[in-house]
């Protein structure tokens, strides 16, 4: 085990003003399957020391592997700092003494056995629902982190699982579902078999998808689909990005950015999710931060340095240079999604989306490509599955047109698109749908 406090002290003695040292040891197991067969099983074993040094408002970040030549490495790094210009935007790491909540990782998730067992559960679970092909990924990650700064030392162990399954029906059309957890009880209620069954049920419901229509539609977003919009948007609520001016939330603190139905937090303290964090990258205690409250932009996500620039307190979202969201949570509503859907006269229910890209990151014009279950609804009933459509709209307009959110929430996390989130189904009126010519 590395003594991070020793490295902090050594760095200070050599002339650094502030130091953050984190030692991260992780063991990630992964299994990948497609066409109903396991493709590969993987295991990543890593031990990393991350070092953040500042001197006279100059900032340097590095990763170290060989702790035995640390002293000479530090001398070199401090010489680099001497040659850098001052970063006037930099305001230090959090100097306040922190106390941390009690956190006990879920020991029952520690030795869950062979991932191929879960892969088989997922494949069989989906196939039983009538699909012809199943693909997916299952991760099991154990991370130990020991973090020291000039002012604080913190340690924690997290164990989590992420899994996503995509199932294809006889016509080749897919359904998908993706989940995250750090609570072993989820394995019996929302395990890979249950997630796979959801994916398969969506695929079967799509049937032989018809080419969709363009126009303006009310859209009921599945939490997985809305998670993609939230993930891209909440990134722009970090103070570093908002401060560049290239963000839908730039210069909008205190202003309306969504409908009254929209209340969005970042909540790394939510236990049971893979985004749980006891402390951030500068050892600040994490907390639940309101980003949007009833449609009003309340806070950016801050580390200590960005918070000082904005004359506020850190939100416990360091990233040492760029703050980050850990686990978005959206406040739920009162009615079930089934009730919301049954009241839709004409609209779409969309399960997933990908490739969200902005043509105007400041004003919010963007498009994204729905996939894995696009359903046309008339008079509260699913009429048919669609494909080949695109949402081409404005993110702030979509947030402002939220009419209702469901009483249920789901844990969703998928690939590089959706960070671990806990979200409801979201009904948005008048969403612009386009298609290819």
């Amino acid at each position: 085990m590395i003594d991070t406090e020793d490295i902090v002290n050594m760095s200070l003695k050599k002339g650094a003003d502030e130091v953050v040292v984190s030692y991260v040891e992780s063991d990630t197991k992964q299994i990948k399957f497609s066409n109903n067969k396991i493709d590969i099983e993987m295991n990543y074993l890593t031990k990393n020391i991350y070092l953040f040094l500042t001197k006279g408002k100059k900032v340097l970040f590095t990763e170290i592997q060989k702790e035995n030549d640390l002293s000479s490495k530090l001398d070199k790094l401090l010489k680099i700092l001497d040659r850098m210009p001052v970063n006037d935007d930099y305001n230090g790491i959090n100097p306040k003494k922190q106390t941390y909540a009690e956190h006990q990782y879920d020991g029952n998730l520690e030795n869950i056995g062979d991932l191929s067992y879960f892969a088989k559960l997922a494949i069989d679970g989906a196939m039983e629902r009538g699909v012809t092909r199943v693909s997916g990924i299952i991760y099991h990650t154990t991370t130990d982190i020991l973090l020291s700064t000039n002012y604080n030392t913190a340690a924690d162990r997290n164990i989590s699982m992420n899994y996503s399954v995509r199932a294809f029906n006889e016509f080749g059309y897919p359904g998908q579902m993706a989940f995250h957890t750090s609570d072993h009880r989820d394995l019996s209620t929302r395990g890979p078999d249950s997630i796979a069954q959801d994916a398969a049920d969506f695929a079967m419901l799509v049937g032989e998808a018809k080419s969709g229509n363009s126009g303006n539609f009310d859209v009921l977003f599945h939490p997985l689909c809305f998670g993609s919009l939230v993930s891209y948007s909440i990134y722009m609520a970090n103070a570093f990005i908002a401060d560049t001016g290239m963000s839908i939330f730039a210069d909008k603190l205190g202003q309306k950015v969504g409908s009254e139905k929209m209340t969005l937090f970042d909540d790394p303290t939510y236990t049971g999710g893979a985004g749980f964090r006891l402390f951030d990258d500068e050892a600040s205690r994490t907390r639940k931060t309101t980003v949007i409250e009833k449609g009003i932009l309340k806070n950016y996500l801050h580390n200590h340095s960005t918070a000082r620039k904005y004359n506020t307190e850190t939100t416990g979202n360091a990233g040492l240079v760029v703050p980050k969201a850990f686990q978005p949570v959206m406040e739920n509503g009162e009615r079930s999604y089934a009730d919301i859907l049954s009241d839709m006269k004409k609209g779409l229910f969309i399960v997933n989306t990908w490739y969200t890209r902005f043509q105007d990151v400041r004003n919010g014009d963007f498009s994204t490509i729905p996939r894995d279950g696009i359903f046309y609804i008339e008079n509260g009933e699913i009429v048919e599955g669609w494909n080949g459509i695109r949402i081409s709209d404005n993110m702030l307009r979509i947030f402002s047109n939220i009419e209702e959110v469901s009483s249920e929430t789901e844990k969703v996390a998928w690939w590089d698109e959706v960070i671990p989130s806990i979200l409801p189904y979201v009904l948005v009126k008048d969403v612009k749908i386009t298609k290819s010519y």
Binding site: I40, T244, V321, S392
Partner: protein, 460 residues
């Protein structure tokens, strides 16, 4: 690390085994609105072991302790003997022994920190002088040392340096906003700065935003379109390169990046007009996607993905080449020491033709010239795609007229390539970081092409 010692274990215990040791040195500087945010520097190495018995296993460790490496090798062997069998036939390939290094004219280690700082600072000042208020600039040098050995006698040692530069600039006027982000990259050393002329390119391209802010939309409808190299490059990458990755075609990427509209029996079928040729070529010297050998130790080569408008050749690694009874064409890559080699592009481009841009414009009665793009996306079978123009102009009666604001091409792959009637002599490349895999692997690529004319497209 003694690679041969660990290899001998694999030889005894596997149908096929490989060990890859990668050392990566990176220095990266980022400017944000006139301030050097910080420097990121790293020097990391790790070992990846891939074993095939009943199935593939892949185990990685960055521990330098012998016991940890031994444990990783043993674990890889154990996992590969899993109960669930899969019939994997690797293609037969020549074993190779080589030791090579890509030259740097201006060595990375000789290019001083002060020179990097003054480069970014000068670019930033020029942008600011031109009233471009929002600016992020990044320059990164990387030296990658790869040692690869497999149980079939291949042993390759290579050192590949490269330089990457990225800028992201926004212009705001009365609430109206335009943005540009571009990437440049080259294998080699800091000769990159002059050869790529990044200072002038950044300033010239960013200044255009101020004109684009004043441009107006044109009425939607059918018209001819000429797309520039930045657009033809992204089209080549997204709707030729990705759908021709054999692992996508097979469904291996199904739950993430998706599958493909191309099937294994699509070879020989028409996808575009006969002037369409799309190439992936890792052998281009100095290119950002340069590879002498791929990450399975196979010698790389140029591939025609689409030839004369016909689906011609898949991107293959040894597994899919073996499945199809072919030889690998050297398309396996891994972005990091700890990630599995998967099928990837390198430098993907539309092959130049015989026209000059002037000739192509002259023959357009009503249409647009779309030099560059901002938003783009494509569906997960690589068929429905969208490109929103950034710098674009109206063409009337063979002449370039006023700038046009954000024209939209939203079309299909076959419609795009089938509408091509002329391809210019030019060829320009842009760098990019191509994403695929789970965990996500971003690999260095070039995307490029000539000016390409499309007839009778619907533009919004």
């Amino acid at each position: 690390m003694d690679i041969e010692k660990y290899l001998s274990n694999l030889e005894k215990e596997s149908r096929y085994g490989e060990i890859r040791i990668m050392k990566t040195k990176i220095n990266s500087l980022t400017y944000k609105n006139g301030i050097l945010v910080g420097i990121e520097t790293s020097d990391v190495e790790g070992i990846a072991i891939r074993v095939l018995n009943n199935n593939f296993s892949f185990v990685t460790t960055n521990s330098i302790h012998e016991s940890d490496i031994k444990r990783a090798v043993e674990r890889a062997i154990r996992i590969s003997k899993m109960k669930e069998k899969r019939n994997v036939l690797l293609s037969h390939e020549k074993s190779i022994k080589d030791d090579y290094r890509v030259d740097e004219k201006k060595k990375i280690e000789d290019f001083q920190l002060e020179e990097k700082i003054s480069l970014l600072s000068d670019i930033d000042k020029k942008l600011m002088e031109n009233n471009l208020q929002m600016r992020i600039l990044n320059i990164k040098d990387k030296i990658q040392e790869i040692e690869f050995a497999n149980t079939e006698g291949t042993m390759i040692h290579g050192i590949i340096p490269n330089i990457y530069y990225f800028y992201y600039v926004g212009a705001l006027e009365n609430g109206n906003f335009e943005q540009v982000s571009r990437e440049y990259g080259m294998t080699g050393g800091y000769e990159f700065v002059n050869e790529m002329n990044i200072m002038d390119r950044t300033v010239d391209e960013s200044k255009k935003l101020l004109k684009i802010l004043k441009a107006k939309k044109i009425p939607e409808g059918k018209m001819d379109v000429i797309v520039g190299p930045e657009v033809s490059g992204i089209v080549a990458h997204e709707s030729s390169g990705h759908p021709m990755e054999a692992d996508r075609v097979s469904g291996r990427e199904g739950a993430q990046a998706g599958e493909s509209f191309v099937k294994f029996d699509s070879l020989g079928k028409r996808v575009g007009s006969d002037v369409v040729n799309v190439i992936d070529d890792p052998t281009i010297e100095k290119s950002f996607g340069y590879m002498k050998y791929d990450f399975e130790g196979v010698k790389t080569r140029k591939k025609y993905l689409y030839k004369n408008g016909i689906i011609n050749e898949f991107l293959l690694n040894r597994e899919y080449a073996g499945m199809l009874g072919l030889e690998s064409n050297g398309s396996a890559r891994s972005s990091s020491w700890n990630l599995e080699p998967i099928i990837r592009m390198s430098n993907t481009y539309i092959e130049p033709g015989n026209y000059s841009l002037e000739e192509m414009i002259k023959d357009v009665k009503y249409g647009i010239l779309m030099n560059s793009f901002t938003e783009w996306n494509i569906d997960d079978i690589r068929y429905n795609e969208k490109y929103v123009g950034r710098e674009a102009y109206l063409i009337e009666n063979g002449e370039i007229k006023d700038p046009v604001r954000r024209p939209v091409i939203e079309t299909t792959t076959t419609k795009f390539y089938s509408s091509v009637d002329a391809v210019s002599k030019d060829l320009e490349f842009f760098a990019g970081t191509c994403g695929k895999g789970d965990p996500m692997q971003g690999v260095d690529v070039w995307m490029g092409g000539p000016y390409v004319r499309l007839r009778d497209m619907y533009i919004r």
